[in-house]
Amino acid sequence: MNYKIIRYIVGWVLNFEAACLLLPLLCAAVYGEKELIAFALCSLICAVCGAVLTIKKPKNKAMYSKEGYVIVALSWFVISLFGCIPFMLSGAIPRFINALFETVSGFTTTGASILNDVESLPRSVLFWRSFTHWIGGMGVLVFLVAILPLSGGSNLYLIKAESPGPSVNKLVPKVRSTAKILYGFYIMLTVLEVVFLLAGGMSIFDSLTTSFGTAGTGGLGIKNDSIASFTPYSQWVVAAFMMLFGIDFSVYYLLIVKHITGVLRSEEFKVYIGIVLTAIVLLCVNCHSYFSNFGDLLRHTAFQTTSLISTTGYGTVDFDKWPEFSKTILLMLMFSGACAGSTGGGIKVSRLVILFKSIVKEIKIAAMPKSTHKITMNGKTVEHETVRAINVFMMAYLFIAVSSLLLISIDGHGFTTNFTAVIASLNNIGPGFADVGPTKNFAFYSTFSKIVLIFDMLAGRLEIFPMLVLFSPYTWRK
């Protein structure tokens, strides 16, 4: 284990966070809020710790899979720990565990909150809360790889460990250029959304924070009723962008450098769009009696669909009051999640497609044992390794979900509440049903349950294995 490179990169993560904290600081300065001191102090702490860790460049820059996983998992812990300082210092969220929950929920783009009254918070704190979504969406280490002159191909291990999806591929031969392209699209789309929201008459603060939440597919709102009080136009814009941020970013790359045929070859993209459209139609049929006109019906069902499938978690209505069939559809959307290579969470459409195809394959083999079948995706054979990794991922996912459910049920809340709380955390969605529904929050859980949910959020964002590798004694054995 190369401890020095781990120390060095984690140091850079802190430097990066120090820089990120300057934005809410600026925001506090603009609105003349006293929280300026809290952000300045926190930024300083990050910068000092970061400087201490990065002052000495490691001679041996060798980094392997193990280091990659450990760096990523550790970085996310560290960034969350330091990121909760402003909440505590400013007095917005005085208790450590609550502040940590809120920060982890932010960075992992979950959007589950422990706050009852969001609107009473100072604007700079709200800004930081939304901005953590944006940082966590594409990933901290992807950003560092794009800007840091860490040479060599071993950077790929960092991106692989941080980016979601069953198999992470480069867009171009150089890791750095790949990371730059990803962030390029990320920034471009975010700016586009801000422009669209501003065009609808939204204030600059509201459109920025809302866009951050959408871009990272986070979902922490700046209003108590999430997006419900926004104009229908703004809701449509947010819904559209939630769907866009749930698409694999390499699709955008293909769209720009190659042509539409490359995009149409992407099965995951087609299935994703298919699921969204089907869900909207089914919800419209099932919920038509809840809305007075078709415009509202379409808007609200489309919004909830894109919000949950992209694992954002914004809400325009209390979908907990919808009929059981609709609620079940929404629950299924929560599980499926967005596309691999997007900023969304969940199991990912591509995994489900491959799993479905392996079931079909097994059926065919059962019917005719000597027949040979290959699972293909986008016209290419899926390697056995990938299929195996997906199977193991599903088992690990299930195992963590079940054990978390067991652990938080100690608190004694209802099954629906506990079940959807775990699912909403593990899939980085935010709201669930019943007591953790779209109009409620997670404040009532005990400290222990919150720790469990914090772990779930991190495990969900990093797709489980980095967390397991970090905590496995096997990793640390010499």
Partner: protein
Amino acid sequence: MNVIIVGCGKVGQKIAEQLSGEQEHNITVIDLRAGKVHDLINQYDIMGVVGSGTSLDTLLDAGVKEADLLIAVTGSDELNLLTCLIAKKSGNCETIARVRKPEYSKEIHLFKEDLGLAMIINPEQTAADEIARILRFPSAIQIDTFAKGRVEILKFRVPADSPLDNMAIADISGKLKCDVLVCGVERGDTAFIPGGDFVLKSGDRISIVASPENGSYFFKKIGIKTNKVKDTMIVGGGATAFYLANSLIKTGIKVKIIEQRTDRCEELCRLLPKATVINGDGTDNSVLLEAGLEHAESFVALTNIDEENVLLSLFAKSKSNGKIITKINRIAYDEVINELNLDTTIYPKNIAAEYIVKFVRAKNNSLDSNIETMHLVLDGKAEALEFRITEHSPIAGKKIESLNLKSNIIIACIARDRNIITPRGHDTVKVGDTVIVVTTHRGFEDIEDILE
């Protein structure tokens, strides 16, 4: 430059390693074996596509339309040629193919012209050329030529009782009255670009820059033979042996080939009427001794098994005073092999990769830098680069002592018109010169890169 490498074998891997270290290249590798592709992606900063190089879809995925160069180095000649052909037709890139079967050697020019290949590489042929060059100058371990053959970098091992033992480099020209420059020293597995106060020891492998005449004068001074060998004994009668024997016989060196398989012996007999072909097991001591190992002036181990080659060479070393050359296919253990005190080891795959890297460099240079030739020296730990000085060069018209050079750089030679100058501090670099720079830095493109 956008480079596609088809085939992730040893040569492909070596090329990927070399080129990915240079920032300006975007490399994509193609191989049918997914495992090989993943190994390379994880090791170097490159992209990989799993598939066949002859499939248009695979090539398009790898970006053949934007590629500047495609290098086909799979194990099959025909596949390589076909890949190049398809790439040429579907993209607009230069192509390099590895073609190694001796039966194609007559058609090589045909391929090159009709298929529009930029280069054809034959690892066995290049290895044989390298060995032949060394046998013509047996005291050297490695010889690289610059300035159209007017300058050489010669690598040799300092013998135990040599006058060079315990001599500081600054004293060489004074004490031996010789115009040579030591541009690199390898001791154990470390390589140095030495300063004037560096003290040489016996056993060091040192590289000198000199014109061929000065080089041989220098070797005479320090008591090392410089004339070419009169005869050679080759164990293993593969393709390399054939190419080697062919070229040695032409220069009047007597060749004995020991080969185990009878049919191959007969074939060699037919192909090389002037060679002595012995049908016997080269690993059998008595066969070697009977063939006259003790009196052989040189011995080349070219069997297909590395271990056998190493042991054969060690045995030959104990029996004869001649020059021993060992072929090694696997590159991984070069440090261990260096410890064994074998005379010269040849890595055909390294040589092939180096040729291709050189070509890529040269092509890149024609775009935006001005390197004339490039050689890997000091066991691949350093590069010797030949730059042409234009009026835009920042060092043109300056004295060498006034230049603020980076560390680990030596200006080894200046070639001006027909003269070769061993640069001292007061010499001036002029427009139109070519200078040879030896450095452990990588990826230099222009002479200005040597300055701080």
